[in-house]
């Protein structure tokens, strides 16, 4: 069974959010994330299948970029101030770089660092994000289905919960020889959560309101 169509669909999945952003003129931070996601996914396919070169560096860089996009999206909703934000983000990025660049190599695919320093914080941020939705200041009630921030939390928690285990065991699985079937299953699960996240990017981009990301 070839996984090529799934990989292509996964790479194309952010296009819908990009088109929605262009048509409805909603060019927010997360719209740029959709472009970056599409660009990197397409780039990785080209590197891997067409030019048959090492794509691990691009993959590692994308995790870092993706983390920055999500961190800035959550910045004013869950961090008390810029100092706290800067400190936490720096520690996590340094941890990721230490694991990926120093402990291993940036030209290798080691996802444990992404699981520990990125996916785990995503889950925590989403829980805090949901908490800030439930207990808004002034007892303000928002319509969840029209809340970009709610959709961001939904997309990210599903993506992070699905991928954290995959990332944690990636090194273990690649170390095992003759484990192609299970690696295929790994890829299918990852592609599925990635597509799910990119589909949910549509309401995130469509319902985006700047003030929703700037206050609790």
């Amino acid at each position: 069974m070839t996984l090529q169509p799934y990989i292509v669909v996964s790479a194309l999945s952010p296009l819908l959010a990009i088109v929605i952003g262009i048509v409805y003129k909603k060019k927010s931070l997360l719209w740029y994330y959709a472009i970056a996601d599409f660009g990197f996914d397409a780039g990785i396919i080209l590197l891997k299948r067409v030019w048959k070169t090492n794509y691990s560096l691009a993959g590692n860089l994308f995790f870092l970029l993706e983390f920055l996009f999500f961190a800035f999206a959550f910045r004013k909703r869950i961090f008390r101030n810029d100092k706290e934000f800067g400190l936490i983000i720096s520690v996590l990025i340094l941890g990721y770089l230490y694991y990926t660049v120093i402990c291993h190599s940036p030209f290798e695919h080691h996802l444990t660092g992404a699981a520990i320093f990125f996916s785990a914080p995503y889950i925590l941020w989403c829980i805090l994000g949901f908490h800030s939705i439930m207990f808004q200041k002034n007892n303000r009630i928002i319509a969840l289905e029209k809340s970009s921030f709610f959709w961001l939390n939904t997309a990210l928690i599903l993506y992070a919960c699905g991928s954290i285990i995959l990332f944690l065991f990636y090194d273990y699985l690649t170390a095992l020889k003759g484990n192609k079937e299970f690696l295929s299953l790994w890829l299918i699960v990852f592609i599925s959560v990635n597509i799910l996240k990119n589909i949910v990017l549509v309401p995130i981009v469509y319902f985006y309101k700047k003030e929703e990301y700037e206050c609790t």
Binding site: C126, I127, F130, I133, M134, I141, I142, L144, F150, N153, T154, I157, L158, A160, C161, G162, I164, I165, L166, F169, Y172, L173, F182, L185, V189, V193
Partner: protein
């Protein structure tokens, strides 16, 4: 169970957890919205009842005035008309004229009484302090209960609306105490604190607590209390019911001083 199965199970559990969190948030928000809708509907119902109570109060007042005008002033003036008519037919009879004059005096008194009930003249002329003193002496004369009024400091001149509302609320509360509480002694104290006029009504009867008051104003009937709520709203005042030591009850009205 091998490692592969464990990984698959872990992923499934994580995704299930993520879904559960999302569903919990959605359900929580729905519950909050439902709760807010209920509160909104209760408030609307309360507003409606207050408006109805206000209209009913006005209608009752109109009915009372109409009855007094018809049965008292109307009847007296009809008699005067008859007397004057008969005096025109006969030779001038001084006793008929005198009787007519007496009846006219009675009518004037009746009209004055009605007017005083509508707007206590003393309130306009001498202010709230004198009106409450006069009110206490009227109640004490009736021997239904003993009402003591004391002012802990000189009261400033308040706006007409505030003075009338406070006076009417105290009238209504005292009337309620006479009708429902079985109180023998009532004390009204007025003072001024931090830009607020504070009126405390202490009594030894069966009183209300805040919870009972809230329950009553949401119930049907209790027009007097609903009128109090309307008057409180109109002058931005608050009322608090509480029980004191020795079985006494306390009602505190706090209103901002607007000259």
């Amino acid at each position: 169970m091998n490692v592969h199965s464990l990984i698959v199970a872990s992923i499934a559990i994580m995704l299930l957890l993520a879904f559960s969190i999302v569903i919990f948030v959605v359900n929580y928000q729905r519950k909050v919205i439902r709760h807010q809708d209920e509160i909104k509907s209760i408030n609307e119902q309360k507003q409606l009842e207050l408006i109805q109570a206000s209209i009913q109060g006005q209608e009752e007042e109109r009915m009372r005035i109409a009855t007094e005008l018809h049965d008292d002033v109307g009847a007296t003036l009809s008699s005067v008309r008859l007397f004057l008519h008969s005096s025109m037919q006969k030779d001038a009879d001084e006793s008929v004229i005198l009787q007519s004059k007496q009846l006219l005096d009675q009518s004037i008194r009746s009209v004055r009484n009605i007017s005083h009930k509508l707007q206590p003249a003393i309130l306009n002329q001498l202010g709230l302090h004198a009106s409450l003193e006069s009110f206490a002496s009227i109640i004490n004369r009736s021997s239904v209960l003993s009402l003591t009024y004391r002012s802990l400091c000189p009261l400033p001149k308040l706006s007409e609306a505030t003075e009338l509302s406070v006076y009417r609320m105290l009238q209504e509360l005292t009337s309620n105490l006479i009708k429902h509480s079985g109180a023998c002694a009532v004390t009204i104290e007025s003072s001024v604190e931090n830009g607020f006029l504070q009126i405390i009504l202490l009594h030894d009867g069966q009183g209300l607590t805040n919870e009972m008051y809230q329950e009553l104003i949401y119930k049907k009937g209790a027009i007097g209390l609903k009128n109090i709520v309307n008057r409180l709203k109109s002058i931005n005042a608050t009322i608090e019911f509480s029980s004191e030591e020795k079985g006494n009850f306390r009602i505190c009205i706090l209103t901002p001083i607007v000259s």
